[in-house]
């Protein structure tokens, strides 16, 4: 029998949100690993040591003390003693809210760019527990993980969070949602949804196996992207009424032509509410 992979998990400049997100899976899964250290779970005392998998949760920052070391120095030491490094969460991948990422600093090269061949980037704020579960499983089984040019696993990040969204029919016909939280209408045109240009599989691998932000009536915030967080997350940025960001892979000219045609060809079925709330008329009367 193969020995268990040694897993060392440290928190850099972080809110520990990715850890808490991961706790939503059955943690007996971790019995498949030798957990050398985790900041929140019962594990051995921290020491600089070799590992099969190093998980760095959170951003890096100069002159930041962690576990008795300067943070950047600590990560350097652990980095070269690890076979594989997982940058966990948007902060670790791109800098996110707290600082700089390992391989990337927003859209520029980060401190560990030269060593990127060792790194698997899993952005997200927080990271979906199933995504990390999948990567750890693949590593445990010694399976090849195909990465894209930003070192993200293609199985997870080739998609956009638009794919699988239950509001896609409304998007196709340019039918807007009237307010947050309602089941009908698309959130892309006014309410800030970044789904069509965000690399993520949130609507394919659902959260808690039941839902996603857009399904529940909240826009996708683009939390897996290099420039997260942007401002005005609940409002679509427009230039003269035209969305500043358009779906990936299509030219502006083609998108405007297509969406103009969709808007002109009214979908009668969707312009009316599919499910009418009984109290709606009464509420309006009041």
């Amino acid at each position: 029998m193969r020995s268990k992979p040694k897993l060392l998990w440290i928190d850099a400049v972080s809110c520990n949100g990715c850890s808490h997100s991961f706790f939503n899976i059955d943690l007996s899964f971790l019995d498949n690993f030798e957990l050398l250290y985790h900041p929140l779970l019962p594990s051995g005392d921290f020491k600089i040591q070799n590992s099969d998998i190093l998980i760095v949760e959170g951003a890096i920052k100069p002159n930041f003390l962690r576990l008795g070391f300067d943070l950047n120095e600590l990560i350097s030491k652990l980095f070269f003693k690890a076979k594989t490094v997982i940058a966990l969460g948007t902060c670790a991948v791109y800098g996110g809210i707290f600082g700089e990422g390992l391989v990337f600093n927003k859209t520029s090269k980060g401190k560990f760019f030269k060593c990127k061949d060792k790194v698997i980037n899993i952005p997200g704020c927080p990271v979906h527990p199933e995504w990390l579960f999948y990567i750890l499983n693949m590593l445990k089984e010694n399976k090849k993980i195909v990465l894209d040019e930003l070192n993200r696993p293609v199985e997870i990040f080739s998609y956009t969070s638009h794919m699988g969204c239950t509001r896609n029919e409304y998007f196709e016909w340019k039918v807007d949602a009237e307010r947050f939280g309602e089941k009908e209408g698309c959130l892309f045109y006014y309410f800030g949804c970044q789904g069509p240009f965000t690399h993520s599989s949130c609507n394919k691998i659902l959260w808690n196996e039941v839902n996603s932000k857009p399904r529940a009536g909240t826009p996708c915030f683009g939390c897996t992207e290099p420039l997260f967080p942007k401002e005005n997350l609940f409002q679509t940025e427009t230039f003269m009424g035209i969305p500043a960001n358009i779906p990936l892979g299509v030219s502006k000219r083609a998108y405007l032509t297509l969406s103009g045609i969709a808007k002109s060809l009214t979908n009668e079925r969707l312009t009316k509410k599919l499910i009418k709330c009984e109290n709606e008329d009464k509420q309006k009367d009041n």
Binding site: M240, G241, R253, L256, L265
Partner: protein
């Protein structure tokens, strides 16, 4: 002459007749006679006057759209682009006044002809898309004010369309060319950031 070229000839003939006699007073037979074709043969090109009207609109929109696309792709400021679009429109209005006539007197005034297949922006999308791109890029470059699309579109197109219309009615005291500069300036002043 290929079928497409022949269709184009028919459309140009129809445009002239619509301008001279009006859309409703012009029949397929009139257009055929002017073309020296049989009515039966005309129907091989256009199954009805409505379908001809629709294709004419798509064609006009494409002609303008392609010209504005060239302007959009120039490496010049939004102010200069406004002037080039005004120039283009006024030039067309003088060289092919029946085009403006068609747009104003047929398309905008007889929407019932276009209900089936030209709803909304469908048949003018080639033109409107280029105007959208012009506005969007102007705002993105911070040269134009970020405002409602139709507020800007109406100001721009309504203004130059109105001038072309007045010119066609012989109401303007000067040539349309003399209005290029002040009209472009006014549009820029209204749209600038």
């Amino acid at each position: 002459m290929s079928k497409e070229e022949r269709k184009l000839e028919i459309m140009k003939t129809a445009l002239n007749l619509f301008a001279k006699r009006g859309f409703y007073n012009t029949t397929i037979a009139d257009i055929a006679r002017e073309m020296g074709m049989s009515v039966g043969n005309m129907y091989n090109y256009f199954p009805s006057k409505e379908s001809l009207a629709k294709e004419l609109l798509i064609y006009t929109s494409k002609v303008f759209g392609e010209e504005i696309r060239k302007i959009n792709e120039m490496d010049i400021s939004s102010k200069e682009k406004i002037k080039k679009i005004v120039e283009l429109y006024f030039k067309k209005a003088q060289e092919e006044p029946e085009l403006v006539d068609y747009f104003m007197r047929v398309y905008l005034s007889n929407k019932e002809i276009f209900n089936n297949g030209c709803e909304g922006m469908l048949c003018v999308s080639a033109f409107v898309t280029e105007i959208m791109i012009f506005f969007e890029e102007g705002v993105r470059k911070k040269e134009l004010k970020n405002q409602d699309f139709f507020a800007a579109f109406g100001l721009f197109m309504g203004y130059i369309g109105g001038l072309a219309f007045l010119n066609r009615e012989n109401i303007l005291g000067k040539s349309l060319d003399e209005y290029i500069e002040p009209v472009s300036e006014n549009i820029y002043n209204a749209l600038k950031a």
